[in-house]
């Protein structure tokens, strides 16, 4: 009787640090909110370090403003990443569409054409990339490498010797400081959230990204979903091109140059794998871009020298990537849907 009592006594289970991290990483919701926690911590820490100067509206709005371009691009491109595709040509597409948009504006003086032509061009180019990949069965990353060279060359020819084409600053300011920019950004962002998280499109993309064979056998069309993902991304890249132009009143040979890498970085920092899968989401890039922007501004405001800023940012990136990294599962998990 006594022995039985002893065996029934519960002994506390002591978990190792490894187990604790594994449990944390296995928890879908914990990993979903981690990027938000990191962002909030970044803001709070810098707020304290700068005696509240970092909390000023102008600073916080400045961070949001600097994030709009990468955020728009990354939100759209998340659709491409979700089903396991990669496209690094978005920078070149952005430069190309911005140039066409500026040329259209300078010919007609119509801001509406600037927006419409930029978005239409970017969408057309992204769909062209997609078609090349699907028709010739070439991985989208390979297509992207090739077309990047072509688009950049054409952009250079269009921009010409001066290295930049300007739009008049009144129009730029009107679009930049008026309601257009934030309205367009948040409308696109919310539209993507709805499509990605509340319709079958997002679910299918995530399923394909998690296990393509399984998805195809379940009757899902990879080609159709790929087209949809490139279409949504194209609109985002075009919109980002417009934001880029109105921000500096010009398109230059540098426009979009490093956008492909910046979007990847923002996506990873936002808690999403660029290889897609079940835990993908479409807001990761925006959250990641906000974190990068807050980190850059905060470190400068604290007075950290440039060389150390790069280093500190690198350390933060490494830790976040370490926490976010997840091997692809062989079969879709329960959290797939």
């Amino acid at each position: 009787m006594t022995n039985l009592t002893v065996s029934e006594k519960k002994t506390p289970v002591i978990l190792s640090a490894k187990d604790k991290i594994a449990i944390l990483r296995a928890n879908r919701y914990a990993m979903m909110i981690l990027p938000f926690i990191v962002l909030a911590l970044t803001v709070v820490i810098f707020g304290l370090l700068t005696s509240g100067r970092f909390f000023r509206t102008s600073v916080l709005l400045g961070i949001l403003s600097q994030t709009v371009i990468i955020g728009t691009c990354a939100t759209g491109v998340a659709f491409i990443y979700s089903n396991g595709n990669l496209d690094i040509s978005i920078g070149a597409v952005m430069g190309f569409s911005a140039t066409i948009g500026v040329l259209a504006y300078n010919s007609t003086g119509s801001p509406i054409l600037l927006v419409a032509v930029s978005i239409a061009t970017a969408t057309a180019l992204m769909l062209f990339n997609c078609t090349l990949g699907i028709v010739f069965r070439i991985p989208t990353i390979t297509v992207a490498i090739i077309v990047t060279q072509i688009y950049s060359s054409i952009t250079t020819l269009m921009i010409g010797g001066a290295g930049s084409i300007y739009i008049d600053s009144d129009t730029g300011s009107m679009l930049q400081t008026g309601p257009f920019r934030y309205t367009a950004f948040f409308a696109y962002f919310l539209l993507c959230i709805v499509i990605y998280h509340f319709t079958s499109v997002g679910r299918t993309l995530r399923f394909i990204g998690g296990n393509e064979n399984c998805a195809v056998q379940a009757g899902m069309s990879r080609n159709r979903e790929t087209y949809i993902s490139f279409l949504v991304a194209g609109i985002g890249v075009g919109l980002a091109a417009v934001f880029n132009v109105i921000n500096v009143n010009a398109v230059t040979l540098d426009t979009g140059g490093s956008m492909g890498m910046n979007v990847m970085l923002a996506t990873v920092l936002g808690g999403m794998s660029i290889f897609g899968g079940s835990k993908s989401n479409c807001y990761a890039g925006f959250v990641g871009a906000l974190t990068v922007s807050a980190l850059n501004r905060g470190l400068l405001m604290v007075g950290v020298p440039t060389a150390y800023i790069q280093s500190i940012r690198g350390v933060v990136f490494l830790i976040l990537v370490f926490l976010n990294f997840e091997r692809q599962r062989l079969l879709p998990g329960r959290d797939q849907f």
Binding site: G62, A162, S169, G172, A250, V304, P305, Y308
Partner: protein, 436 residues
């Protein structure tokens, strides 16, 4: 070793590598304003020995520096600004990373505004969008550029924040090359001329100037008539065989001087042995030294190389000789890094202390040019060895130099006077300065 331990080790090693690299690149960086004793000590450790070390201006300013590149010149500039000029004139500097595009420049300026900066020195974008941003936030804006198609409006007074621009003296650079070419080329021009116009086709003023002046010098010396306009040859993004009535072999090769695209194009041209003169608009003598040497050996010729360059590498380039005793470069046009950076600082400081209008000529902003240095041999390069380098921290543009450009030190000084002073700074003047 357990898998998790390996991962942790990998993460720690990666962080360690980042920290170590930063430590190596930035040996010592202080963010706080040093005391006056430290200022005097810092200033005294350089080339200048300021006699009035305690006469540091009371009013403190913060200047943001928007950088376009991450090269040795930039490192030198940071050291010179932060450790030398900063303590002398009570100025704090905020340096950007290498800015990739205009958006990055704008973001940097916005960050500087939040930090309470008083002025921006722009090495990257140099346009009216940035000037207007500065104007809206009461910052002074100074650029490292001469007037060009992308910023003419600045020099027409579009922004009240714009105090002026500073750049290398292109006409003087062009004349150095043109004169040297005229003196050293043969009477019949049979040796052939290869001109690398580099980024001229994309509007880089210096490259346009050098290519134009070289073509004009050849035209004048040999009485040539080109079938194409010089302007269209210079601005061509494609290689041009410069056809002329005397049949002299002239080839203009454009392109960004890199190892991936430019070098594979220039090497076959050099290896033909058809070009006895190789004129390059950028610093390329290190890249082409081997191929020039091999061609000289194989063809038993001497290819004369003219190139832009840096003071730090010129000595070594002039020291390298092939089997025939020919040096790997014959003429280097070098930038005096601190003279240019110092002038940018002086224009900015004048605008801060005496208003932007103090830098106007006839009611409009102006630009200042700093002469490059003509180094025609090892002796000249050796004379400047150890100056404007991170190793010695001996700065050519010392306190005496900067003071001559500041209105607070010379109340009667105006932009014309500043230009006059800068025009007098050439190789001989600098040798005299550093010998004092």
């Amino acid at each position: 070793m357990k898998k998790s331990t390996k991962k942790l080790m990998a993460l720690l090693l990666a962080i360690l590598m980042l920290v170590a690299l930063t430590a190596c690149s930035e040996q010592k960086t202080e963010t706080e304003t040093p005391s006056s004793e430290q200022r005097a000590e810092t200033a005294g450790s350089g080339s200048a020995k300021p006699e009035e070390a305690n006469a540091v201006p009371e009013k403190s300013y913060t200047i943001g520096v928007a950088e376009a590149q991450a090269i040795e010149d930039v490192t030198i500039r940071h050291e010179y600004y932060e450790k030398y000029l900063g303590p002398l004139y009570n100025v704090k500097f905020i340096f950007s990373e290498r800015l990739e595009d205009d958006n990055a420049t704008k973001a940097f300026i916005e960050n500087c505004i939040d930090m309470g900066a008083d002025a921006i020195i722009d090495f990257k974008s140099c346009n009216s969008t940035m000037a207007k941003l500065c104007e809206e936030n009461n910052l002074v804006y100074v650029i490292n550029s001469v007037p060009r198609s992308t910023n003419y409006d600045l020099y027409e007074g579009v922004s009240s924040a714009f105090a002026g621009g500073v750049a290398g003296n292109m006409p003087v650079t062009g004349s150095y090359i043109a004169d040297w070419l005229t003196e050293n080329s043969s009477e019949d021009g049979s040796e052939g001329f290869l001109i690398s116009s580099c980024m001229a086709s994309t509007g880089v003023v210096e490259h346009i100037e050098i290519t134009t002046r070289a073509l004009e010098a050849l035209q004048k010396k040999y009485g040539l008539t080109y079938t194409q306009e010089i302007g269209s040859i210079v601005m061509s993004p494609d290689p041009v065989i410069v056809e002329n009535d005397k049949g002299i072999n002239i080839y203009v090769y454009p392109g960004s001087p890199n190892r991936d695209t430019w070098l594979p194009g220039i090497v076959p041209l050099l290896t033909t042995g058809n070009y006895g003169f190789f004129i390059s608009c950028a610093e390329t003598y290190d890249t082409t030294a081997n191929v020039v040497d091999e061609v000289e050996r194989a063809k038993n010729i001497d290819i004369k190389v003219v190139s832009l360059g840096a003071m730090s590498s010129a000595s070594l380039a002039f020291s390298n000789q092939d089997v025939h005793g020919n040096v790997s470069v014959d003429l280097v046009i070098a930038t005096c890094s601190t003279a240019q950076s110092g002038t940018l600082f002086a224009v900015t400081y004048n605008a801060l202390t005496n208003g932007v209008e103090s830098q106007y000529i006839d009611g409009l902003p102006t630009y200042y040019t700093v002469n490059k240095l003509r180094l025609a041999g090892l002796g000249e390069a050796e004379t400047l060895k150890g100056w404007d380098t991170m190793q010695t921290k001996n700065w050519i543009a010392d306190q005496e130099f900067i003071d001559q450009l500041l209105i607070i030190k010379n109340p009667d000084l105006d932009p014309a006077g500043m230009k006059e002073f800068l025009a007098s700074i050439d190789y001989d003047a600098i040798v005299e300065m550093i010998s004092r």
